[in-house]
């Protein structure tokens, strides 16, 4: 019996721990530190049809128990991601979740159709929640109707299950979740970053060149946890939870709130070995809590 195994649409995860998109590049840097095959899955950096050079610098700023970033979806573009990055990742026994982004519906459809055919891409993650680009991104994730239509369009062309990454920068995240479920989404990943800013106190100027950025890190965990807890009660598709996860207790909390797996973002920058460390700690934590399997924990807060 493998206690850590999780079966999700398109994804047979050997454990529920995976690096979150944007915090792990395409894996090459972390592959120098540990064997990527240990990971449950890898959510690769957002891919757009063409090369994107991202935002001006400074792109990051530290905040209390967190950080702001406004990278701006920098990536080499669909062709290079498929030829160089995904091909290179084939040497590892790890399912890839490809994060798909764009300016227009056509962009999403183009990337989704092509990238879902890569042999190691087992699922897509529709990025309708990036707060750091002027077009696309979050504009698709704040209106339930628009989110549903985009999900439908991508579902129609994707060769693998489609997960939709939700933005916390909305009044009612449940409405967006239900809309993407109605649009045919196979799962939800949540949450993306919270829109925020930091000022240089001396000058009054924003620290980040983009003025605003996405807040991540331990500071946002309570918000993320509440949203996972809410959405888990409103949809029947699985959730991959994220938002400030940095300890094994955080992993347990997200599973309890209703996530079937957990993604790690900012914590990779603090401890680059965080993912394998959490995977190693998980069985012991299950023992401590008296659970046989990870699946027994999923959504337990709702059954109390």
């Amino acid at each position: 019996m493998n206690r850590l195994v999780i079966e999700l649409p398109g994804l047979s995860l050997k454990n529920p721990i995976m690096p979150a998109s944007g915090c792990f590049g395409f894996g090459k840097e972390y592959a120098k530190l540990y064997d990527l095959s240990q990971l449950g899955a890898i959510m690769i950096k957002a891919t757009t049809p063409e090369t994107r050079l991202g935002n001006p610098t400074p792109r990051v700023a530290e905040t209390p128990a967190g950080m702001l970033n406004a990278i701006g979806l920098q990536n080499p573009g669909l062709k290079k991601v498929m030829e160089n990055e995904l091909t290179w990742l084939e040497q590892y026994e790890v399912p890839i979740i490809a994060n798909v982004a764009g300016y227009t519906t056509e962009d999403y459809v183009t990337v989704a159709e092509a990238i879902s055919k890569a042999p190691n891409v087992h699922a897509l993650e529709l990025n309708i929640s990036c707060p750091n680009v002027k077009q696309g991104g979050i504009t698709f994730g704040t209106d339930p109707f628009v989110a549903e239509e985009l999900t439908k369009a991508v579902k129609a062309v994707s060769s693998v299950p489609v997960y939709v990454k939700l933005s916390p920068n909305v009044t009612d995240i449940g409405a967006i979740a239900k809309a993407v479920e109605a649009g045919g989404a196979d799962g939800i990943t949540m949450i993306n970053t919270l829109l925020g800013m930091r000022l240089d106190t001396k000058t009054g100027r924003p620290v980040i060149a983009n003025v605003t950025g996405g807040l991540s890190g331990p500071a946002i965990k309570p918000v993320a946890l509440r949203m996972v807890y809410d959405v888990a009660q409103q949809v029947s598709i699985p959730i991959i939870g994220m938002g400030g996860v940095s300890t094994i207790d955080d992993v347990i909390d997200f599973l309890s709130a209703g996530a079937s797996a957990v993604a790690i973002g900012t914590a990779n920058f603090v401890d680059p070995f965080i993912c394998p460390n959490l995977i190693e700690q998980l069985p012991k934590k299950l023992d401590e809590l008296g659970f046989d399997r990870v699946t027994d924990l999923v959504g337990r807060s709702h059954r109390l």
Partner: protein, 258 residues
């Protein structure tokens, strides 16, 4: 190889106003290859401050498994770091990045080393390596004012050293470029670390010379994954951008758009 290690504080002292010299020991020292590389430090086990701090390596001693950093305590992270005492542990990720190339200069030739403020430290290990090789270093080190000047004597022991302060309170007055204008340019290669405008001025001044420049940029991961520290490039190279942490921090002159 990049490792993460709990390294031990051997020594920490103030060497100028708000400037600290910190020596750590551990196995990670054995992996340090080039002068100009850096380490990424966690200054606290708590969530505040959360991110690591990139700090350049100023001196390496493989024999004693020790390395030294010189840094300015001017934020919450470096201020916490400055409180560490002998025996305390510091979580170190490193060595990171690509340092200064010293294979382009031969014994008997001269090399010009230009440092600005807190960009001076990595030039110290560089100068030691050059001297070991028989290269003659010429140091031009710029600081804001007398109270933040450091390592003058240490650099003097390695070779000709010129100190310049912006306010003229010590050494010559002005910027490093004011001193450079008075020197002969009979050096083979130049190396520099300091504020970006200074690096830009050097590139202009010595456009015919081979140079290596160490850049600074706000970092996230420190290993090339997060794309926080990218810089625009010039037409000279076939890449749209470079990452300071993993492609640099040292680049040949003319690569980064200044």
């Amino acid at each position: 190889m990049i490792r993460q290690e709990q390294m031990q504080v051997v020594k920490q002292q103030t060497i100028a106003t708000n400037i600290f010299e910190l020596t750590l020991t551990g196995q990670l020292v054995l992996d340090m290859k080039q002068p100009g590389q850096f380490v990424h430090l966690r200054v606290s086990d708590q969530m505040e401050p959360l991110l690591r701090r990139p700090i350049s390596i100023s001196s390496i001693n493989k024999g004693t498994l020790e390395f030294t950093m010189i840094y300015r305590a001017d934020g919450s992270g470096t201020t916490l770091l400055s409180k560490k005492k002998p025996g305390d542990q510091v979580n170190v990720l490193g060595p990171l990045g690509n340092g200064f190339q010293i294979d382009k200069v031969e014994a008997g030739q001269k090399a010009l080393l230009v440092g600005g403020g807190i960009g001076v430290p990595p030039l110290f290990e560089l100068s030691k390596r050059l001297v070991e090789k028989g290269v003659q270093p010429i140091h031009v080190l710029g600081f804001q004012s007398e109270d933040v000047v450091f390592y003058e004597k240490q650099f003097q022991e390695l070779g000709e050293t010129h100190i310049v302060t912006v306010d003229g309170s010590y050494g010559s007055t002005g910027f490093v470029t004011n001193v450079l204008e008075t020197l002969q340019d009979d050096f083979e290669v130049y190396y520099s670390c300091g504020p970006t405008p200074m690096l830009g001025a050097l590139e202009k001044m010595y456009s015919e010379k081979e140079g290596y420049l160490s850049f600074e940029q706000r970092m996230g991961c420190g290993i090339g994954a997060c794309f926080a520290c990218v810089c625009d490039t010039t037409e000279k190279i076939d890449a749209d951008y470079v990452k300071v942490c993993s492609d640099g921090p040292v680049f040949p002159s003319g690569v980064v758009r200044v």
